[in-house]
Every structure is written in structure tokens, then in C-alpha cells.
């Protein structure tokens, strides 16, 4: 909400010319989200400081847009965010663009500058330092590194042309905040390329800056990265932030292949994917003519809509379309629509149930739906130590209610099989560690004749 720019250049009051704002006056600008005030807390020959203060209208901010109560109590009016970038462009537009009528010789000249940013969102001091230090700034934080909290008052000092400092702030404040107040579209890529010229190409945290500036919109970010470096090979989304994720993506493919194979070997022709999510298994099964009917079931309507879009259901040829059905359903209510199928797959779904609902799930699946074959996969908890991102004893996903060791899964599966007249066989899925087993464990249940 407050940005100060100071200089000790002599005479320091030249700052007024560079910013096109008279140090003697208090000026006010109307912006879409409130007002911006410009004034000078100090203006001497030795030292001059300009302040850009935002007065964000907190009520207009969320009018008609709130959907949860927390939308109405938020930090936006008080922090340095994309509002500040917009204000810099509007109020200091000429300075940002490197134009100055009265002191043209100062425009390209490195000056001793200091920028004070109040309440800059950041998880740690390092977040700020890794962005600004490579650009040649000294970074000062209040409160310091030891303090907890999600905001810091930040002071950047360095010798820079003013336009460069403003440009860095313009791009990097929203990157740190990560919550732009406006829609990020294609035009944003052009803006970033233009503003980033000359410094972003070689910034060590370039990929992070691009992705966060573009709000993690993967295709935009890849586009921008390709334009920033001819030889750039855009990695997978967010790969720099979550090293474990790639491993999980690869494992998901292996797992789907294993499940599809198990279903195929069961000679099933009519199958249900319980907890189908975005329909990746459904898609894979449709490609195999053995499966004459594939039903994807998920409790989330949104997931089903995504699945329908991904599978292009509306454009699928009629004969193909008749093989597939997407239904909202859940593992805790018995469901006539699930009866009479050859096989049901439950891929990475079990662990999203509270343990005390498992009994209901067992009955729904093995007593009422009662297919010939059930294929269940679930994480092998023992393997978690191999994932650096997971703390000791932690689970792979925040919604996992439990994860089982191999022995726990086997005990559960054996009990279920014997209670409902099935025989179960186990199989590791993914790279097998001799001591820990595979990352995923799979059980295939066959109904005894």
C-alpha cells in the first residue's frame, strides 16, 4: 500500500523531476480500486523521498464477488500487490518508461536509490533476496528473518537508473504476492516480455518469475519462456517448485497401465472406474475394443465435467459415445447403477475415505455392486521415505485419511476377500525397492465361483 523511493543523489530533489511530481505538493489520483496519493516525507538537497500511498476501497473490492466469508476480510488493502504495479504505471508512467523532459541526462544514469515497500507478502526473507539480489540490490527486511509472519517491510538499495528500479518493482511485487487482482490473458505475456527486457532473460529465477507473474497459467508461461530464450525447453508446469511432482506424474502413468492390464486380463467387457477423476483411466480403456462399456464414477461434479471435456464427449461419434457413461456417485451409498458389471477399478480412491467408512464401502462394492473382478490400488506408505518432499510419517496428499503399509493393505484385502467370497492377488506397481516395496500397491480380487 505504500512505496517510497529515496535518493541521495545531489541534488536529491532532482527526484521530483524524474518522477514528474513536485515535492512541494500533495497529489491525488483516482484509480479503479481507490485512490493513490503522492507526497514527499522529505525533500532536501541531500536526501529526497517520494511516497506513493494507496487508499484501497475495501468494500468495493469484494462487492458482489464474495463467496466465502474470508473473501470479505482480506489483506489486499494493506499489502504491496498488483494494485501497486498498476499505480506505478499510472502515476509514475513517464519515469517507468524512462522519459524526463527537464533532466534527460539523469534518465539512463545509475543513481543511489532506495525503495521502501511496505507489507510485501513473502514467506521468508530468502524469497525476496533471491529475486532482488541477482539484480544488484541490497535487501533489508523488517521484521528480520527470524520473525514469523507472511509480510515484511522491505528496503532495496542500489545504484540504478530510476526507470530500472521501477520496472523491477512493477514486475516483481506481483510475483512475490502471487495474487493478481485482474485476469491474466495473452496480453500479459507481451507486457512481461517488454518489461523484462534486458534483465529477465538471464535472471536465475526466470522460470519462477514467469510462472508466478502469469499466475501459473501453464500455456502462457511456456509461451513466454520460449520467447525469452530461443533455446529454452519449457519444463513441466511448476517443476521448479515441486520436484516430487514429476515422479508422481510418471507413477500415475505406470499405475494406469497396470490397472488397465489387470482389467484386460480379467476378460471384463463392462467396467466401472470408481473415483474416475478427470477420466484418464476411462480414456485409456476406451482405446481398447475389449471394453464395450466403460462407466466413470466420481463424487465431484466438477471432475466429471472436466472428464467430459477432456474426452470430448460432445464430439464423440455415436457408436463410441454409447460405450461410455460418466455418473456422479460415491463409495458410501449403494448404487443400483453399479450392479451387473464385470469389473470395478478403485484407483487411489480408498485412502480418501475416513477409516470408519471403509466398512460401508466394502459392502457397497463387494456385497451390492458385486462384480467378478475388483482392482484396487493404494499408496504403499513404506515407500514414502523415498520422496524427499514428504516429511517423516507424512502422507502423499493432504486429503489422504490414511495410507497403508503392504502388510496393512494385505490384511484388509484378505479380510474383505474372505468375507465376501473373493480371492485376492497382490502386485507391486512402480519401481520396486527391495526393502520398501513399490510406491503403489495393487490388489486384484476375483469372485469365487
Amino acid at each position: 500500500m505504500l512505496l517510497t523511493v529515496s535518493t541521495t543523489h545531489s541534488p536529491a530533489t532532482d527526484l521530483g523531476y524524474l518522477l514528474h511530481k513536485n515535492p512541494a505538493r500533495v497529489q491525488c489520483f483516482e484509480l479503479s480500486f481507490g485512490k493513490a496519493h503522492v507526497f514527499y516525507p522529505e525533500a532536501s538537497e541531500e536526501r529526497c523521498t517520494a511516497a506513493l500511498l494507496l487508499d484501497v476501497d475495501p468494500v468495493a473490492l469484494v462487492r458482489g464477488r464474495g463467496s466465502t466469508s474470508t473473501d470479505y476480510v482480506n489483506d489486499r488493502p494493506y499489502v504491496a500487490s498488483s494494485f501497486l504495479s498498476v499505480a506505478i504505471a499510472r502515476v509514475f508512467g513517464s519515469a517507468l518508461g524512462g522519459r524526463c523532459r527537464d533532466r534527460p541526462e539523469l534518465v539512463g544514469k545509475p543513481l543511489p536509490l532506495a525503495a521502501g515497500i511496505a507489507a510485501l507478502p513473502c514467506r521468508s526473507g530468502d524469497d525476496v533476496r533471491e529475486l532482488f539480489e541477482p539484480l544488484g540490490y541490497e535487501v533489508d527486511l523488517e521484521p528480520g528473518d527470524d520473525a514469523s509472519g507472511n509480510y515484511r517491510n522491505v528496503t532495496l538499495t542500489g545504484r540504478k537508473p530510476l526507470a530500472e528500479l521501477l520496472t523491477h518493482l512493477y514486475v516483481l511485487i506481483p510475483v512475490l504476492d502471487g495474487r493478481k487482482h485482474y485476469w491474466v490473458g495473452d496480453a500479459e505475456v507481451d507486457k512481461l516480455i517488454a518489461r523484462g527486457e534486458g534483465w529477465l532473460e538471464d535472471h536465475p529465477r526466470r522460470d519462477l518469475i514467469v510462472r508466478r507473474y502469469l499466475k501459473h497459467r501453464g500455456n502462457l508461461a511456456n509461451d513466454a519462456l520460449a520467447r525469452l530464450a530461443e533455446d529454452a525447453h519449457p519444463g513441466s508446469p511448476d517443476s521448479d517448485e515441486r520436484p516430487a511432482r514429476e515422479a508422481f506424474v510418471a507413477l500415475a502413468d505406470v499405475r494406469l497401465a497396470a490397472v488397465a492390464r489387470a482389467l484386460k486380463e480379467s476378460n471384463a467387457t463392462r467396467v466401472v472406474d470408481f473415483g474416475c477423476g478427470e477420466g484418464r483411466l476411462v480414456e485409456q480403456l476406451l482405446a481398447d475394443p475389449q471394453f464395450q462399456e466403460v462407466v466413470g464414477v466420481d463424487v465431484s461434479v466438477r471432475a466429471l465435467e472436466t472428464a467430459a471435456r477432456r474426452l470430448r464427449l460432445d464430439r464423440m461419434p455415436e457408436r463410441q459415445r454409447r460405450r461410455i457413461k460418466l455418473l456422479q456417485g460415491t463409495m458410501t451409498y449403494r448404487d443400483r447403477r453399479m450392479q451387473g458389471f464385470d469389473a470395478v477399478a478403485v484407483v487411489e480412491a480408498l485412502e480418501h475415505l475416513d477409516p470408519d467408512r471403509l466398512g460401508t464401502f466394502e459392502r457397497v462394492l463387494f456385497e451390492f455392486a458385486k462384480p467378478e473382478t475388483v482392482v484396487v490400488t493404494t499408496p504403499n506408505r513404506e515407500y514414502n521415505v523415498r520422496y524427499p518432499g514428504i516429511p517423516a510419517g507424512g502422507l502423499r496428499h493432504s486429503d489422504h485419511r490414511f495410507e497403508w503399509t503392504r502388510a496393512e493393505f494385505a490384511a484388509w484385502a484378505d479380510a474383505v476377500a474372505s468375507a465376501h467370497g473373493y480371492a485376492v492377488a497382490f502386485e507391486p506397481v512402480g519401481d520396486v525397492d527391495e526393502a520398501l516395496g513399490a510406491p503403489t500397491q495393487m490388489g486384484t480380487f476375483r469372485r469365487c465361483a
Binding site: 500511498l53 489483506d75 507489507a119 451409498y333
Partner: protein
């Protein structure tokens, strides 16, 4: 001619074109009861005589007939039906829906038909057609009985048809006008000692005079026997005598069991295997004269497969009854009533696997049956098996209706070895029978509650609720109530307050409520606590497993203490149980369990992440930013810049944020042990015998004040009673509110003195909240008190919120009533599910 037909049947009119079928149908049946092939032809082709449309017309006819029969409605098929293959289709249809097939034949002289057709302009298909019809009809006449028509009538002349009178008769099973009270007795199997003991326990006087039994009840209660009176036990003859005499005297009704029908076959001289105790019955009967044998045979022969009583609320049958067979008649219905249904498989003991009809049962009628010995009678979806295996050494059980009480006497001994499966099921496999079906909740639904009729749940809301319910909610057996949302009062027109008690009093005054209670509003999280006296109660009443004794859950049905706090639940329940012990609540209310509506503090227990990441965070950011801003403005002012007004404005902001931070801080404190929590119960919602929505809030407050005595965890809710018409009384309450909110309290909740209050427009808001000025900063943002903001925030619409509050209130109480009345789980679940669905409606969350 009198045409006596069952009131539910499929009537097939048979006759040539022009024989007067339609005229007859119009005279004796309602227009909607008659489906005519001509009308169907017209519907599909715009031409009632278009023969090319016949195939489609008959498909339509059958379709309509199916819908009507499925709904158990008498249906008349008005077509020529002179061909046997056409009639066969209709007989099959009647069987499928367990309806009697009735044939009414118009065997009129061909001349009459020809003359009639000649007079009608639309029937120009020539005399050959009618001639053919008559020929086919004559050939059919003798075979109608064999074709499956249980009732057949024939008109040979116009006069005969004109003179006919149709009379509809109730089915034998139909005793809907008989509401009891009944005592329904499970399988006796010759255990007459236990039967006599049970009858005396139930208040009957049984007098024996030689071979005659006289059974009477001082309150004119009647007995209903579920069959299997004979075989295996020692006093089969006495059993038969007692029951037959009681039935003859009108004191009892009896449905047949499979053992009776087998005995009847034996008495009729058929060869039957002497197994399952029939040999014992035959031996005991040998001492009786042939006249007695005849009497028994006649008695059994006269028994009706099942009965439907009391306006359709109660049905009895030996082995159970499916909804689609209730109060209908067919061979299949009788078979089902006697044997139930088997899947064709056998279990580990070599016994046939029974099809679990009760698990799928979704009918309105309570179904009481026997046949399958169980250790304990248990409700499953509104059905109950009360054969508790007396002859195998179990007990003889009766169900009192309408009281729904079970009364049992133990068997004096094992009369017959339980060669079959073990009677007592393994505790681990004793899963609750009520598994909910997705059809019970999904799609557009209409829930009828006793407070608000026909509440509609929209399909997309149900879909949203399904996700929440299946991903986050507790076991449905525990989820017997969800609290309604609560509307705030209307806003003030001016001044620095948004909400004020006067507006709430005004609302109730306008709605004719004379007296209200104002309760201190605790700022925590809503918590519902279900407390059982012990694990046994939790198991039998809530189907709980693993020794749990209750549960504490949130207003969206999630477990309150999850994750790291899981250990708190048991401790909180233990403390509540001890409190109930201490104040003798169990005895006073004669209940082994209770459900409390409470507020649990601090707020940060449930919302720790939210408080830290959102609420506290905003205060941090604002403090950092505003301090810098004020400092910069003041420095600019010192050097002569005109920033005085701005500095003032930002100092105000800083003050407002300080107020906000204080408000957030007030409702949060660290919780290390259960003693750091505060639980403030404010409704004693229900106990075993009653939902306490008939008591006023004074009663609730008094019970709960007792409960909270002597335990620091439990917090008494302070309250004031206000006479809405008395200005002084209102003024005192307003002063109290001011005092509460000045001290940092959230505010208060104003409720009608009666738990449920109505006005001319229907249900009055069950509660209205008036929140304090400082507290509202957490809701509307730190700076909401700035005049420019207040002016805009005053315009808020409460209509949607209040409508939701009314409906959710009705649904929540309905769920409790249904639970207390021991309705099937799905009926309870339907209501709480609907509350959750309502909550997915988009409503301003600040209200």
C-alpha cells in the same frame, strides 16, 4: 348381474367391435381408469380407426397400464381382446404387478354389433371384421379360466349388459381401516408355555376351559400371529387351539407360515417329508379326533398371506414383504410372504442365501415379520424380524403397535437343537443393516416435514451435498441433526451500528411473538454433541462400533475433533456424560442418550488455519503497512505539506485495524488440553422418547444450567427474557447487549420463547442474531465502521437467508423426530442431507 371385482385388478373387456364395451366402461369406471385401444390409436396417429397404428397404439396401452398397475390402480383395458394371444399378454401383465385378471365378456348377437357399427360413421370396415370378432370370441369363451382370469363375467344380451352393477371389494389383505392397537407375536413353534407367559406380560387374560381358550385384553388390544405356530415345540395342539379360538373370537389375526402350509398339505393327504419338526406335530395331532384335524386344515386354508393395517402404516407377513407386493395378490406374493426370496446360492452352513429384501426396502409401511431366527430383533429400513428363536432356546418376542416396544420372554429350554446356523451372530459381522442408497438422496427431491410441507431440494444442490457428505461427513448413523443457518437482524438506518437488538425485537413484534429469550452469543464454532450413556447404547441405538460412546460434529456434519485433536472427543464426551450423571438427567428424562446443540470455544480450535492464514494475517499486514503510511504522512506534514487530513484518515484506519486485531485475538487462545476448551450447550434437542421442540427455551436453559454445574469445561449461557410489548423490558435487554458487546462479546441471539413459533405467514424465524460493533469487523472487514463503508453495507437483503433458515430449521427438527420415532435411517438422512444441500445455495456469507 352383480359384477364383484377386487378394488385392485386388471379388467379386460372382451367383445366384438360394436358390442358396447366403451359404453359399459364409461358407465362403471372413471374415465382415467379406462385405457382404450381406439384412444391410444388416436394419440399416436390422430385417427382412432387407423389400423396401421395398431402396433404403436398397443405399446402405448401397455405402457400406461404398467404405470397404473405399478401404482396399484384398477385398470380397464377397452379393446376387442378376442384373440387368446392378446389376452395372454394382459394376463402376464396382471401377474407381473400381482393384480387379479378379470374378464368381462360381451357375448352379444352379431346382428346387434353390426347394426351399431352401421350407425356409426367412423366404423366403415365392413361386416367381415365383426363377423370374425364374434367367431373368435365364441371360440375363446371356455378357455378364459385356464388363461388365468380369476374372475369372469359374461353378458349375452344388451339388456343384461345394461342391467349390470359393478361392485368393488377390498382385498383380503387390505385392513387399512384397522389401526390396532396390536401385539404382534413372532414364530411360536408350539412353545405354548412361553406364549402364555408372553400374553400375560402383555396384559392379556388367557382362560382355559377344557379344550377352549378364552383370550381377552382389558384395553381391547388384539394379537397378530406371524405364522409358524406349529412344529418343533412341545405344545403344538394347545398353540393351535389358542390361536384358532382367539381368531374366531376376533381377538387375534394370523398369517400363515411355511410350516402351516406344509402341515396343510399333510392333512390333505399329500406326501410330505417329515422333517423340520413336522413329525412332532403329526405325533401330537394323532391324539386328536379327525374333527380337529379338519378344523386345523380349514383354519390354515383360510389364512391370508399378509395384512396391511392402519392407513398403510403397518404390514405383517411371515417371511417379509416387498413394497411392490404389498396389499396385492398373486401366487408370487403368497410365496414371498411364506418363504421370502432366495438368491439360489447357499451359505457356508449349506442354507439358502436369502435375498436381502429388507436392505432394499423403501416403502412407507413398517413391516413386521418372522421366519428367520435372529438373536435380537433389529430395525432395518423400517422393517423388523421378531422371530427370536424361542424353540431353539432363544426367546419369544412381541412388538407392541403403535408403541413400537419389544416385549420378550425367554425360552424355558432348548426344545429343538439349532442344527442350522448359529443363532447369535458374530459381533464383528453384525454390521448395521441400513446402508443408504444413492437413490435416497440424489436428484431433485421433495421432503415433507411436519413444520414446513414439501421442501424442494434442487438437483444441483443435492449433487453438491453428496460430495460434502461422502467426503467429509461422519457416519450417517450418528448424523441425526444439522442446525439451521441463522439470519441477522435488519440493519439500522443510521448511527454507527449496523446491527442492534431493537431490530430483532421489531421483527418478532411484527410477527406476533409476545415473548422472546435473548441468549448470549458465544464466539466459537457450532458443535453438535451426541452423548450415550455407554458403548452398548451407542451400539444398539446408533449402530456404533469399536466402543465409541458418542460424537461431536460440526454444523456441516464433520467430526469436530479430527487429526491431532482426535483425543479430545472422548474426553469431552466423558465430561458430558459425567455431568449428566451428576444432575440425574438420564433418569429425569428417562433416556440412555441425548443430543445437544452447543457452541464450542475457542474459535481457533476448528478454524486454526483460517485464523492464522487469513484473519491474523490481515492484522499483521495492516499493522505493518499503516504504521509506515502514518509515519510518512506525518513527516511530510512536518515539512509543511498538506497531509493533515490524509494523516488523520490513515490514523483512523490504524485504530480500526487495532480494534479488528483485538476482536480476532479475543476469540482465540491456545488449546493444549481439553480444559482449555469451553462448551456452551444451548438446546437439549432430543432424548430417547422425545424431541424437545415442544418445550420453551426456559426449559432448555434450566436443564442445561443444571448440566453445566460443577465442570469448568461446560459454560452456562447467560440469557434474558423479554416481553416484546414492554418497552422497559426491551430496554433492559438492549442495555445488557450493549454491556456484552462493550466487553468484547459477539452479541446475542434472540429467539421466540417457544421453540417453534408461527405467525400468519408460517414459521417465524427460530432465531435472529444481533452482533456487536467490534465483532462485526471480523465479518465485514476492519474498516467497515468508516461512515462511507457503513452507508453501503446497510443495504443488505435478508430474504434468502431467512427463507433458508426456516426450511433448514424444519428439516433439522424433522430429522430428529424421525430418529426418535425410529424411522429408517434413510428417512433421517434425507432431512440432514437436505440441510446440507440448502447450505450450498449462494447466500451472502456475511449474514
Amino acid at each position: 348381474m352383480r359384477i364383484e371385482i377386487p378394488e385392485y385388478c386388471l379388467v379386460v373387456l372382451v367383445g366384438a367391435s360394436g358390442s358396447g364395451k366403451s359404453t359399459f366402461a364409461a358407465k362403471h369406471f372413471a374415465p382415467t381408469e379406462v385405457i382404450s385401444s381406439d384412444a391410444c390409436r388416436a394419440l399416436v396417429s390422430d385417427d382412432a380407426t387407423d389400423q396401421s397404428a395398431t402396433r404403436d397404439a398397443f405399446e402405448l396401452l401397455e405402457f400406461i397400464a404398467r404405470k397404473r398397475l405399478a401404482a396399484r390402480r384398477l385398470t380397464v383395458v377397452d379393446a376387442t381382446n378376442v384373440r387368446p394371444e392378446d389376452r395372454a399378454k394382459l394376463v402376464r401383465l396382471a401377474r407381473e404387478f400381482h393384480a387379479f385378471a378379470v374378464a368381462i365378456v360381451f357375448d352379444l348377437p352379431e346382428r346387434v354389433c353390426q347394426d351399431r357399427n352401421a350407425r356409426r360413421p367412423d366404423r366403415d370396415f365392413g361386416p367381415r371384421v365383426v363377423h370374425n370378432h364374434v367367431r373368435l370370441l365364441r371360440r375363446s369363451l371356455k378357455r378364459l379360466g385356464r388363461e388365468g382370469f380369476r374372475y369372469r363375467f359374461q353378458f349375452r344380451s344388451e339388456a343384461e349388459a345394461d342391467a349390470a352393477v359393478v361392485e368393488r371389494q377390498r382385498l383380503w389383505t387390505d385392513r387399512r381401516d384397522d389401526a390396532g392397537p396390536f401385539d404382534i407375536i413372532g414364530d411360536v413353534h408350539g412353545c405354548c408355555d412361553e406364549l402364555e407367559a408372553l400374553l400375560s406380560e402383555l396384559g392379556y387374560r388367557v382362560e382355559r376351559d377344557g379344550e377352549r381358550f378364552g383370550v381377552t385384553h382389558p384395553d381391547a388390544r388384539r394379537l397378530v400371529f406371524l405364522g409358524d405356530l406349529v412344529d418343533r415345540g412341545p405344545r403344538v395342539v394347545d398353540c393351535l387351539r389358542l390361536v384358532m379360538d382367539a381368531v374366531a373370537a376376533g381377538v387375534a389375526l394370523c398369517v400363515p407360515g411355511n410350516h402351516e402350509t406344509k402341515l396343510l398339505r399333510h392333512l390333505r393327504g399329500r406326501r410330505v417329508t417329515m422333517t423340520h419338526g413336522l413329525d412332532g406335530t403329526v405325533a401330537q395331532l394323532e391324539a386328536e379326533p379327525p374333527a380337529f384335524h379338519d378344523r386345523v386344515a380349514q383354519f390354515i386354508d383360510g389364512l391370508v398371506s399378509h395384512y396391511l393395517f392402519d392407513d398403510g402404516k403397518l404390514a405383517v407377513a411371515h417371511a417379509g414383504m416387498k413394497r411392490e407386493m404389498l396389499n396385492r395378490s398373486s401366487g408370487a406374493v403368497r410365496e414371498f410372504a411364506l418363504y421370502g426370496e432366495t438368491t439360489g446360492e447357499t451359505d457356508e452352513f449349506g442354507f439358502p442365501v436369502r435375498y436381502d429384501w429388507a436392505g432394499e426396502y423403501r416403502g412407507e409401511a413398517m413391516i413386521v415379520y418372522g421366519h428367520t431366527p435372529v438373536a435380537e430383533a433389529q430395525w432395518v429400513n423400517g422393517t423388523i424380524c421378531i422371530d427370536t428363536g424361542c424353540v431353539f432356546g432363544g426367546k419369544l418376542t412381541a412388538l407392541r403397535y403403535p408403541e413400537r416396544e419389544l416385549v420378550s420372554v425367554p425360552a424355558a429350554k432348548v426344545y429343538y437343537p439349532a442344527t442350522s446356523r448359529p443363532l447369535v451372530p458374530d459381533a464383528d459381522t453384525d454390521a448395521p443393516g441400513d446402508i443408504l442408497a444413492i437413490d435416497d438422496v440424489l436428484g431433485k427431491r421433495i421432503v415433507d416435514t411436519r413444520l414446513v410441507p414439501n421442501i424442494t431440494v434442487r438437483e444441483e444442490n443435492a449433487a453438491a451435498a453428496l460430495e460434502v457428505m461422502s467426503r467429509f461427513a461422519i457416519q450417517p448413523n450418528w448424523l441425526i441433526y444439522l442446525p439451521p443457518t441463522m439470519s441477522p437482524c435488519a440493519t439500522r438506518d443510521s448511527g454507527e451500528l449496523l446491527e442492534h437488538p431493537a431490530a430483532a425485537f421489531g421483527y418478532y413484534r411484527t410477527n406476533g411473538v409476545a415473548r422472546v429469550v435473548c441468549q448470549e452469543k458465544h464466539m466459537g464454532s457450532r458443535a453438535i454433541a451426541v452423548v450415550c450413556r455407554d458403548a452398548d447404547v451407542a451400539r444398539t441405538r446408533f449402530g456404533a462400533q469399536g466402543g465409541t460412546t458418542g460424537i461431536v460434529y460440526t454444523r456441516t456434519g464433520r467430526r469436530f475433533f479430527g487429526g491431532q485433536l482426535a483425543g479430545f472427543e472422548r474426553q469431552v464426551l466423558d465430561r458430558l456424560r459425567a455431568a449428566a450423571d451428576r444432575c440425574g438427567l438420564w433418569e429425569k428424562l428417562e433416556t440412555p442418550w441425548l443430543i445437544l446443540d452447543c457452541e464450542l470455544m475457542p474459535w481457533s480450535v476448528k478454524a486454526a488455519d483460517l485464523v492464522r492464514e487469513q484473519y491474523a494475517s490481515v492484522a499483521d499486514a495492516a499493522r505493518l503497512g499503516l504504521a509506515r503510511a502514518v509515519d510518512a504522512l506525518e513527516r511530510a506534514g512536518e515539512r509543511g505539506a498538506d497531509t493533515a487530513e490524509l494523516a488523520h484518515r490513515f490514523r483512523d484506519k490504524a485504530d480500526m485495524v487495532k480494534g479488528y486485531a483485538a476482536a480476532v485475538g479475543r476469540y482465540n487462545w491456545p488449546v493444549d488440553t481439553v480444559d482449555d476448551l469451553r462448551l456452551a450447550p444451548f438446546h437439549l434437542l432430543a432424548t430417547e422418547a422425545a424431541v424437545h421442540d415442544d418445550k420453551d427455551h426456559g426449559w432448555h436453559m434450566a436443564q442445561l444450567a443444571d448440566l453445566c454445574q460443577g465442570d469448568g469445561l461446560l459454560t452456562v449461557t447467560d440469557y434474558r427474557v423479554v416481553d416484546i410489548g414492554d418497552e422497559a423490558s426491551c430496554g433492559e435487554a438492549i442495555a445488557w447487549w450493549e454491556e456484552l458487546t462493550a466487553a468484547g462479546g459477539e452479541g446475542m441471539v434472540v429467539k421466540p420463547w417457544d421453540f417453534v413459533a408461527r405467525s400468519g405467514q408460517g414459521l417465524v424465524q427460530p432465531a435472529i442474531k444481533c452482533r456487536g460493533r467490534e465483532y462485526l469487523r471480523i465479518i465485514y472487514g476492519p474498516e467497515y465502521t468508516a461512515e462511507e463503508n457503513l452507508a453501503r453495507l446497510r443495504q443488505r437483503s435478508l430474504g434468502a437467508k431467512r427463507s433458508l433458515a426456516r426450511r433448514e430449521f424444519a428439516l433439522g427438527l424433522e430429522a430428529l423426530h424421525r430418529f426418535v420415532e425410529r424411522e429408517p435411517l434413510r428417512r433421517v438422512h434425507e432431512c440432514v442431507f437436505a440441510v446440507l444441500a440448502m447450505e450450498s445455495e449462494p447466500v451472502d456469507p456475511r449474514l
